[in-house]
Amino acid sequence: MDQTLQKALDQLDQASAAVRLAVQNLANAPGGAEAAGDTAHALSGGTIDPFVFRFAIFVLAIFVGYYVVWSVTPALHTPLMAVTNAISSVIVVGALLAVGIAASGIAAGFGFVALMLVSVNIFGGFLVTQRMLAMYKKKDK
């Protein structure tokens, strides 16, 4: 009996070891699968870090900014300063996130301060731009 038991327990040990191995394999599986797809995935972008994409977007946006700002008529350079200021307050998305879902109260607090500050900008910036632009008129004939 003892022998059989011993055998059974050995079996158990072996089995669990085998399973442990399988688990390990499985845990590594995603990596393994990717390695298999290899250059293919690399070329298709399957494994590309989103940072690369964001960086590309950033670079192209700088080009767009360059051209779009040079095409602004000098007569509207003051409104341009006001409106770029207004749109830079899109940082409000970070503030909203902090106030909305931050797990820590202190983070939510920072977010609330940020939210108040940029709200001044959002409303102030767009409205003052609107006020300025409303003044630019053509000769009435």
């Binding site: 767009v64 900014g65 830079s88 899109v90 998305v93 902090a98």
Partner: protein, 465 residues
Amino acid sequence: MNANFASFLYLVSGVLFIMALRGLSHPTTSRQGNLYGMIGMGIAITTTLALATPSAGRFGLIVLGLAIGGGVGAVTARRIAMTSMPQLVAAFHSLVGLAAVMVAAAAIYAPESFGIGTAGDIHAQALIEMSLGVAIGAITFTGSVIAFLKLDGRMSGKPITIGGRHFINAALGIALIVLIVLLVTSESKLIFWLIVAASLVLGILLIIPIGGADMPVVVSMLNSYSGWAAAALGFTLGNLALIITGALVGSSGAILSYIMCKGMNRSFISVILGGFGGETTAAADDGIERTVKQGSADDAAYLMMNAQKVIIVPGYGMAVAQAQHALREMADKLKANGVDVKYAIHPVAGRMPGHMNVLLAEANVPYDEVFELEDINSEFAQADVAYVIGANDVTNPSARDDKSSPIYGMPILDVDKARTCLFVKRSLGSGYAGIDNTLFYKDGTMMLLGDAKKMTEEIVKAMDH
């Protein structure tokens, strides 16, 4: 909301911001453009709320924050005088800078909520991006506050130069880099706040040595900074709207700084190093006796009423005196009398790009009577009178003729080519660049000494006689 769809909406709001700037290529499309900007902001806010789905309590907080800030902003926008635009823009920049710092702080204190890792295990990349964002944000904050104080006259415009400041700045810069490295390795909140503190100090030190008159370039540069700060945080939050907008604002500020420097024929570096142009200096008394022909409002009224063509050249003094409305009245009188009246705007007239245009627009001057330097400079030769009101440097012929002049090479308005040149200013003092204007002593020049607004009003009265 689905994350892909949200990203798409952020892209849409980025594109709307591009359209907003694009609209400014012409006055007729500009209002539409501003509307696109508002819609873009609305989409960004709504999308974020839909993604975050805050609890009712938190939602209340958000509404409260928006309402308080929005109220203050709306009232400010309505009340502010057009002549105070430079200050206002500086003040607004400081808010964006501080907000960037606060958002980064929130991210450090609650990394899970921002998806950048867990407390004690924030992704290194996110920490780097964030510390760049927070450093630029903090510099923008204090820098803009100083710019605001100088522009608003609450602090002397004189450059405040501390000995060894370049050394101190360099040391602070190196300290910042070390601190960022430490933050990435330790993720300590203390170090985060040290970064904030060092950047705040750096912001002050960078801006105080710059003279009040150079502030516009600084404001534009800080505008650019606020963009880069937003973009850096955009990388941390993985938010397309922030990345695109940050790049737009960053380019915009940099280009405007460049335009101003080129218009002044100075290098950006020399502006940033500071120490230039504090208070306006008096006319250089070089001992040579020079005669000035002085005239009265009646003389000016007579001259202009009998002219065929008058070109008005406004400058910083018109802004100071708030003379734009009186000026418009004068132009109306002349036009009613059959005189051809045009306005000539130098690219750096005033203290801010487009400064004169916005003031003239405020006084209901139609924008198709207002011309840029290249478009009108050849017409001075055919003009009977150039009415120079509160402008000085932008007419100074030494920029054209005198190689030793500090403004040599800067394009100027050729007012000296007009038959008669009327100068409205309070004295024979110099302008922003602090250099004498030989035009005052020229034959065809008549000085109308006095406040720009009062003098113009007197001329208007004299025209009725």
